[in-house]
Symmetry: C3
Subunit: 163 residues, 3 copies
């Protein structure tokens, strides 16, 4: 048994690593391929009026501040889909890919994005590179919405297993 | 290093938390939007005769007993798709959302649902709220099937990491 | 607290279990259902020229050597989709299903497959059966590509939590 260096804190208030990032999603409207960073891979089903079943694949920039033009700290690659018939609500699975002087590696995240809640928690289920074997919580908060054209999420990533 | 309270039992027979839940899936048949709790986001491919590639998004009630009309203990939000050409077989990823006096929080689950096996194990890959940082096993058992209209799964959720 | 037997090594160079497997994907071209092991569940979007949004469901054999005709060591069931507008790039979530005299159980994996990198790491987020509660890293390396007809990945699976 050889443990290099382990930091494990199971106090929700004391993650061993934390960063706050802003996720920017610009959905393809059919023509604006130069700006768009995501596109719908399916069409909405007939279940309710909130695009139930619409699945969006994304390769979205993630930045340290709210400005979408600020330099990306990471890319978020993955998908989300809408899954409620009574309101807008989504489910996400994606990878944060870091490739900077600061961080190299990935963080894998999945969970429910209950958009009607002020904040909601998803699971950090794994990591690679600088985030080798990480686990934790990703807290989402909607930061801006412009219809189906653009939305911004604040992602508060807290790791409780750091190696 | 600050560990609040950790219970970790790695004996498969001795989970630190366990609950048995019934999952009810009523697939939209094109018109019955009032009862339906799930809908097909894609159409089957031409690979075999078992709807290979059909992907279903769901927001399904989960109850403590087999009766679909009993009060929901949680919501299951996520998706499954069929993925074999020689038999019905599926793959699931979803979140159990608890919002009751008993439990508040989520449990994230993914894995293969080999429908032809009597029971099959999926992974609990994370949790939030009352299930902060949980990991474990979700054992599926088919409890009822009515064609593509309705099916019920018994989900035996066993957590081996509880904080 | 009852721990049956735990092996936990957090040195990236010293997994507690490791195996190298080859994944073979033969995409349905519309007619060849006898050989095909995967099929496109969606069509590409208009975002870029690299089939952004194309989602493929697979039930692929996994073998111990490069020969697709060698006896399967496991089945890989899950999906991938393409997610970049400037190059071919994918995202995977799947289950390795072992059902041999050697191993019985499953391993659940998700993460980004940055195809332009020589090797890329995904997360092993859970396991069942012989791989009860496993976690680790799956390193992908492209081993062969024949357009959209066939590709082969070398998967170097390293577990760091073994029970």
């Amino acid at each position: 048994q050889s443990v290099l260096s382990v930091q494990k804190t199971m106090n929700p208030k004391r993650p061993c690593k934390r960063f706050i990032l802003y996720y920017h999603d610009i959905l393809l409207n059919g023509t604006d391929t130069s700006n768009a960073t995501s596109a719908a891979a399916t069409t909405p089903t007939k279940l309710g009026d909130f695009v139930f079943g619409l699945l969006v694949v994304f390769d979205d920039p993630v930045t340290k501040n709210q400005n979408p033009q600020s330099p990306p700290a990471a890319q978020a690659q993955g998908f989300y889909f809408y899954d409620m018939k009574t309101t807008y609500n989504a489910w996400f699975a994606y990878t944060l890919i870091f490739n900077s002087t600061e961080h190299k590696g990935t963080i894998n995240i999945m969970g429910a994005d209950m958009m009607m809640e002020k904040t909601r928690d998803l699971s950090v289920v794994g990591g690679t590179g600088d985030f080798f074997m990480a686990r934790g919580i990703a807290t989402f908060e909607t930061d801006a919405v412009e219809g189906f054209k653009y939305f911004r999420l604040k992602m508060d990533i807290k790791l409780y297993e750091c190696y």
